[in-house]
Amino acid sequence: MNDNIRLMFTPEFFGSILLPALIGGIAVTVCCSLLGVTLVLKRYSMIGDGLSHIGYGALSVAAVMNVAPLKLALPVVIIAAFILLRLSESSKMNGDSAIAFFSTTALAVGILVSSKAGLTNDVSHYMFGSILAMTKGDVILSVVLSVIVILAYVVLYNRIFSVTFDETFARATGVNAGIYNMIFAVLTAVTVVLGMMMMGALLISSLIVIPTLTSVRVCKSFRGVVLTSGAVSVVSFLAGMMISLLFNTAPGASIVIVNVVFFLIFSVVGRAMKR
């Protein structure tokens, strides 16, 4: 353990590996938690999960075809996000079964393609994430994305509230809910693909869902939920990274476990407040 601590504070490691990981990681976690508030409260929680599996499929195919992973995965996941949101709204096919259908299909395609091409090792990065291997481009992209998401959240905050709370009413007051749903689909898709590269396809949806579930235990207002989710997700990320470096555990899983611990603490506090 002492070796790990010493290693953490060597300038080379800190500057070239840890710092980019921290910056990119915080940016992506903040995006996940903000978008998560709307997705969870609109009962679209599974969309993040479904998209990450679709992204995994796309990344595997990209790896086999020797295409830059993001160039293929981003458009595919954005299109998938549109389709999934549409399906969730229409009554023809149940939203949750549609998501299960698409995500398992994409997962199967991804595994089939990558195992056939013998790429299992490369592609498993996307399954479990590799935050310490974020490139400069990844970091810049995550920071740009998070600035866009935060700005969109601030400027459109009241509309987002209205569309999340009661879409029919929002439409009746002249808010074009369709456009907001589209913006959400695109932002969620980009966040999921980026988050997937660091956290892995298996864990990304927990970053979207858990912070909101945690803050809902205690907060009474929508604003409180948004702010608390953001704060909890950043603190969990930093604590999880710390733990993973100190004890040599998988970063993604450690971050999720810290999130779960916060959830449990908030649940107890929320119960106590009700009494």
Binding site: F161, D166, T168, F222
Partner: protein, 236 residues
């Protein structure tokens, strides 16, 4: 009396089925109209057309005085989605002001005053900071009515406002709506299942019928009509 909304030859369909067929009616300022009709007769479709969130197949809705469909104060049918939603009463109520704002991102102090006045009018000012999931059914409906009032310039459109409330809360809701109509001069359109109540409190009845013979007129005319006696016979 000034006409506030006029609907001419409306037709609309739902899931490919024609549910409204050349429906016409008009309301004056201060009218209180109840929309009656069986399930599937097109009540909800008509509501969505009036709000402008559903495309008409034909016909025209005209609103007077430069009012637009955005200025209708709408109280949606009760849904379970809002159960457990983390939002304070004041956050919900002020979201009714969204239509007034155009593209400004934040609410002005005028809009905050409007929201505050609406809460006071409906007697929920003391609940402003409470979370809406802690409210009783009756309080929740009052919160949503306050939100509707923030959006409403002259016209309220209420979709089964007493659904799911206990009898005492129903009574309270009805008298509140009546007061808004009589004292505050709000024009009210209410979708209802309660025929007796509708005849009692409104001055216009619109009864939608799946076989194209919809009725529009005063409650007295409705009682004497074929449709009215059929419905009242059932509820007795």
């Amino acid at each position: 009396m000034k006409t506030i909304i006029e609907c001419k030859d409306l037709s609309a369909s739902y899931d490919g089925m024609k549910v409204l067929n050349s429906l016409s009616f008009s309301l004056n300022e201060g009218d209180y109209m109840c929309i009656l009709g069986e399930n599937g007769s097109g009540k909800s479709t008509l509501v969505k057309c009036l709000l402008g969130i559903k495309q008409l197949d034909g016909g025209k809705i005209t609103m007077c005085d430069g009012l637009s469909q955005k200025d209708i104060g709408y109280l949606p049918q009760h849904t379970n989605l809002q159960n457990g939603f983390p939002a304070t009463v004041s956050e919900v109520v002020i979201s009714g002001c969204l239509g007034r704002r155009g593209f400004r991102p934040f609410y002005s102090s005028d809009e905050k005053k409007i929201a505050k006045a609406a809460m006071e009018r409906l007697g929920i000012a003391d609940l402003a900071k409470r979370s809406c999931r802690e409210l009783s059914g009756g309080q929740q409906q009052r919160m949503l009515l306050a939100r509707a009032m923030c959006a409403a310039k002259k016209l309220l459109l209420l979709d089964e406002p007493v659904n799911g409330l206990d009898p005492a809360a129903q009574e309270e809701m009805y008298s509140l709506i009546q007061e808004l109509n009589r004292k505050d001069g709000m024009t009210v359109i209410m979708v209802s299942h309660d025929v007796v109540r509708a005849v009692d409190c409104s001055n216009r009845i619109l009864c939608l019928c799946s076989n194209d013979h919809s009725f529009f007129g005063t409650p007295e005319e409705y009682l004497n009509s074929h449709l009215g006696s059929k419905f009242l016979g059932e509820s007795k």
